[in-house]
Structure formats: C-alpha cells, structure tokens
Amino acid sequence: MSMNVQPDLDFIKDMKAAGGDTLKNCFQCATCSVVCPLSSDDNPFPRREMIFAQWGLKDKLIGDANVLLCHQCGDCTAYCPRGAKPGDVLGAIRAYAYKFYGWPKGLANLASSGKNLPMLIGIPAVVILVMWLISGGMHIPSTEAFVHHGYGNFFGHWNFHLLAKNVFFIDLMFLTAAGIAVYGSYKGVTAMWKAMAENAGVGEALYRPSVPQFIKEFFWPAVVEIVEHERFKKCETNADRIRGHLPLMWAFIALLFVTAYSAFAQDVLGIFIPSLHGPMSLWNPVKILANVAAIALVVGTGILWGNRTQMEKDGQSSRTFYDWFLIWMIMAVGVTGIGAELLRLIGIASIGYVTYYLHLVAVMMLFLYMPYTKFAHLVYRTFAMTFERYRDSAYVKNPINEE
C-alpha cells in the first residue's frame, strides 16, 4: 500500500466540527478493533481509521468501506481507554464523505452545516409557497369542499380530465427534487465505488460479474441483510437502536409502495377515472397500510430520538447537527403528515392547509437533501455492504484475477 497521500487540513477541520475532535486522544492500542462486533479478522476497524484520521489522510478514508460498515453501535467508544470516541470519529468521516461525494457541490455544502438551517428550510418553503401562489390554489376551502377533496385541490384544479392540476404541480416539484437526489446519489456512489476499489487494490479484473450476476450475488444479499438488520443485532452498547430503526425502515418501504401506488392511481388511472383523485377511504387496504406505516415512522423515529438523547447524556456519543438533522426531518414528515390527515378528518380546513404545506416542505427537504445529509447512508451504506461482499468474493480474490 503506497502512502503518497497528503494530509488534508480542511478534512481535519471538518472532523472537529462534526464531533470527531476527540480523535487526538487515540494512542493506537487497538482495543476498539477487538471489541467492535462488526469488525472482521482480516480487515479490522476502527483502529486503522483512527490513525488515518489523525494524520488527515482523507483519501484513504473516503474510499474505506469499513467506515460505512460501522454501525455506530459504540462498543468501541465504551471500551476505548482514552475517550477517543472512535464511533463518533467514524460518524464524522461518513458525514465528510457524503459531502465530498455530493453533487451538485453547492447543495452538498449547504446541507452539511447547521448554520445553513434557515436556508435549508427556506428553499423548499419558498419554492412551494411560490408554486402555491402560481397555481392559484391558494385559498382555504369550505369545510364541505375540504372534507370532499381533502388536499386534492391544494394547488387548485383544472376542469379537464387529462391531468389534474394538483398532480401536475406535485410532480413538477417532487419529481425534480427526486431526480436531483437520484442523479446525485448515482454520481456519489459510483465515485465512492471507484475509490473503494482502488483502495482495496481491486485492479482490472479478468472476470467481472455481469449485471444480473452482480445483483444476484452481491447486491441482493446485502439488501436482505440490511432489511433483516443482522448487524444492528450484534451491537451491544447501543442494542436498543434496532427497535427504532427496524420499524422506521419498514415504514419507509411501505410508504414508498403507497406513494408509488397512489401516483399510479392518481397520475395514470386518474386521467381516465377522475374519481380516483381525492382522499382514499380509511378502510382501503392501501390507506390502512399508509396509516400503520405513518405511525411506525413516528414511533420508530421517537425511539431513535430517545435513544440518541440517552447516548449523549451518558457521554457515549457527541451531539452533532449531522445526526439530529435527519431525525428532525423524518419526525417533521411524520408529524405533519399525520397532523394533516387528522385535521382533514375533523374538517378544520385552515390549520389543515397550513399543516399540509409544512408537510410538503418537510418531504421536499428529505428528498432534496437525501444524498448529502445523514440520510445518504441509505444508499452509501447499501453499496458499501455490497462492495464488502464483492471485495471478499472470488472475482477479486481469485488468483486468475491477480497479476
């Protein structure tokens, strides 16, 4: 392994800001690598990552899959004899990596600092407000109309069937935000993969897996493991976190399905069957699923919230904007979503509309900032866990592939 890498002062500064400032205490005893329940025998962490971080070797770290395999269970931090908080340091490296790989850069920089919080809320707030103005839908409906249409006429309505005005505006904004997020994630993940492959010494392999092989052998098993939370279960110090993360993840999967279904129903089928626009019956199985998921989302996030508060109280974790911003955003999405629905059921249009507006703002924040905030772990971690399988597979380890 060559060491022709330069210390990066900017990186060191970022590490401090993000909660990794205990790192200088590390004296390389390697207790952490042994007590870490996720670290492997041949490729242990986080001791090595600690020395790289001390030296400011950013390039080594942003291409280090271990950084993303770490689940921040904090067993290392609990046993570290020097209070170097390796779990937090790795968290800070992840935060840095998401920013580093973020595209577009401006947005990535914006989303990575608590100082920008007013802007971060302001952008979606203004965009949606302006759209609401332009749409001409900006007035509080009568209780009767509210109960009948729900938020279906939030952005007004056109009296022709081909495309509901509301759907148009929602799609315009949210497909754009999602598009940026998906493209940004794609760029980030491919850059990370390349860096990880270089760092792990995965050269030009003679035999590469085909796409279906890749999915079948590496990606899908990783996804299954993630969904089953196998690694969360190994954490000891922070064993309770799984009780929040598991329902939260399932809530997202369910809501993804519900959103896809309702987009199909409203945007495609709705063109032919206008009655599909408007609120679903509470007894519609899809609606039941949506409501259960919404509750799971709020409860799961609540558990994570409490858990993180406790960890910080016990000195096992540092308080950072990076960690809290995600929890706040998801909580905001859940609370405003459930709030808007309840207000619709009670029929209070005025507060309902304002709550719905806030819900849209929260959802847009979550979408738009996904690739740069802690939420980016969703994609980066998934691919790091895929990479780990690839790295340890015959494609890489096979002697034929080694010169």
Binding site: C29, D41, P44, P81, G83
Partner: protein, 417 residues
Amino acid sequence: MSDTAGNGAVLVVGGGISGLTAALEAAEVGNDVFIIDKNPYFGGRVAQLNQYFPKLCPPTCGLEINFKRIKDNRKVRTYTMTTVKSVSGGPGNFEVTLETAPRYVNSNCTACGDCSDACTDEIDNAFNFGMDKCKAIYLPHEMAFPRRFVLDKDACSEECLSAIKGACKYDAVDTEMQPKVFTINVASIVWATGWDPYDYKKLDNLKPESSSAIITNMMMERMASDNGPTGGKIIRPGDGKEPESFAFVQCAGSRDENHLEHCSYICCMATFKHMTYIRERYPEAKIYVFYIDLRTPGKYEHFREKLMSDENAEFIKGKVADIIAEDDGGVTVVAENAVTGVKMKQKVDMCVLATGMQPALGEAGKALGVAMDGNGFVVSEPEKGMIAAGCAKSAVDVYTSGQSSTAAALKAIQIGR
C-alpha cells in the same frame, strides 16, 4: 487513653517498605515515631513478591533488616491492624484518633502453631490472593513481623474456637478482645499507604472469571514464591497443568480512563521479571507479550534488552481486548496487531493480566483531610503537615519508594522543629 510523645513526633500510616523506611529515618535522628498498618503484619506488598528487581533478590533481603532496625529502635512504636479514625489540629500539634481491630491473640503468642493445628475451620488465604486456603487462626506469612498469630473469629464455629483456646499453652488466644480506640499527638503525618492490585474482575471485556487460566501478575509472584500456594511451581490453577505457552496482557486496567487512568509504570518491568520466572522453570515455553508500548525506566534498559531477545518470546503491539475460554482449560487471547493490521487470536495455556497499582488510601483519605490528585494519589502538603511517600504518592518501584520515603521523613521532622 492517650499516648504522649516528645515534641516533633511523627505518625507514619502504612508499614510497607516506604513506611518502614520513613519511620526509621525519622526515628534515627531522634524523633518519636508511631507506625501503623491495617494489616496484621508489616512489609506491605513487597512481602508478597517472589523476587524484586533490579537485583532480583528475595523480599527478605530488604525487609528483614528494616524489621530488625525497628525492633531495636526504642523510638518507634508499632501498631498492626490499626487505622486512622480522625485527624484534628494542624501541623505541629495534630491529634489523631486510631483504632486497633481485635487480633484475638495477645502478646503471649510465641507462634508455636499449636492453635492452628487444632483449628478445624479454613479461610481463603488473602496473602496468596485466595489461591489456597489457610486455617482461620494463622500466621499471615512465614516471615511475618510481628511474629504473632491472628484469628478470623467470624469464620469459626463455637467448637472450633474452644478447640483453639484449649490448644494454646500460653493463654494467648482471647476471643473476647474488643476494638481499641486511642489518640496520639504528633507534629506531622506521613502517608505511606501504598497500593492495591487493581481489581481485575472489573475488566469485563476480558471475562476474567471465565477461566482459571487467567491470573494476575501478583498471583504470578505468589506462585513463583517458595512460600506461595504452589511451593514455587508455576502451574495452572484448577487443573495444575504445567503451561507450555503464556500470554501477558499489558496495561490491563492501566492507562485506561474506564479503570486506572495513570500508567502503573511497573507492570512492564514486572512482566520482564515474570519472563525470567518462567524461563527458570520452562526454558522452551512460548511467551507472547501484548503491549501498547513498552515502558521501562532507563536504569532497567539492559534487563529489557536481554528479555526482548528471547527466541521463544514474541512481542505484539496491540492490546488484548477479548479472551475466550477454551475447552482444554486454556484461553485464546484476541488483539489487533497494529503493525500488520490483522487480528491475532493466540491460544495459550496461561494468561497473565499485568494489572496496575491502585492507590490504596481511597475515599477514606479524603475524609481525613488528605489532598489527592484525580487518580487518587496523595499530594504532599508539608505546610499542612501531611506528607506522601512511596506508592501512596505515585506508582513507583521499591528503589524510588525508598528515595521518596527518605525525603518524606526529612520534611516530617522539619515540621516538629
């Protein structure tokens, strides 16, 4: 009741090598000295060592001469099983209340041992860290000073007690003895309370109680001693196997903010010394030393070099952070080798935890007005008449303890002037 002494009397708390040295230094220039120890004997931790560096001589060579000098010096009054209850007054005129716990054996005792032969109840032998048992009426160790038996009354049945009493020809056993509280007036106090081995059971990630193959460095000292639980054999507790391989876990509980934050300074040297114990008995045994960095005071550099060139010894940079008990009675120690970056799992027959020295005085000292640093070491305050010596002051070897005790005695007698 009150013991009066001349001007400038000194109280020395703790009768280990440091306390003995300080007491003698002060007494030999003419001051009255009270020396107390909470143990039923003087000598402290050094008495438990097999040999001590630099010269690897047995503890008798240092302690016995001190005991003799104390016996011969009429200025020194000795009190075993005695602790400080309260301190009032100030430098030059302290009033100190002491309490002596009942020994249940009076000064008639000739240490003939008849009582012990008659005794039917046994207790864990504290001197040997519970590795063997001894009778409930016992001489703490072979060269104990004072040479007098001590009775653990609570461990005995009524029948046993009357058997013991009946066996003593000198009427030395007194089961009705009561704690004795008394006050003394002194000009200064020397705290020479030394250290306790850090409680290795607190190292929970090492699961120290999961296997009898896991011992501490002080247990190693006792095992290697001829007067120890195994008569000088280094064998695995439990099954008595002669180990073919050893792992030393350095900094076990030292330099660790979850345990002792300070470096105990001696454990690296102690491990080198223990390698010599092993080599004397097992010339071929494999020895693995896991360390963060090896610290040896300059004066011991030569000793270190010799042992580091041992062909059957391997030194691995990486702290052992997990120990797995194996079915054959051995253990596997786990560490990341920080040089190669790969985890190492080494199976050995015996594992020695190089635990550190924890200041013995503890919280009780604070209540008596003793100043302590964040690690619990006593901070000398000569202007307040309180002076620290030896390991009570910092984790050091015998030689340095001697130096600091001489210095402490000098300061103590100046207060009396």
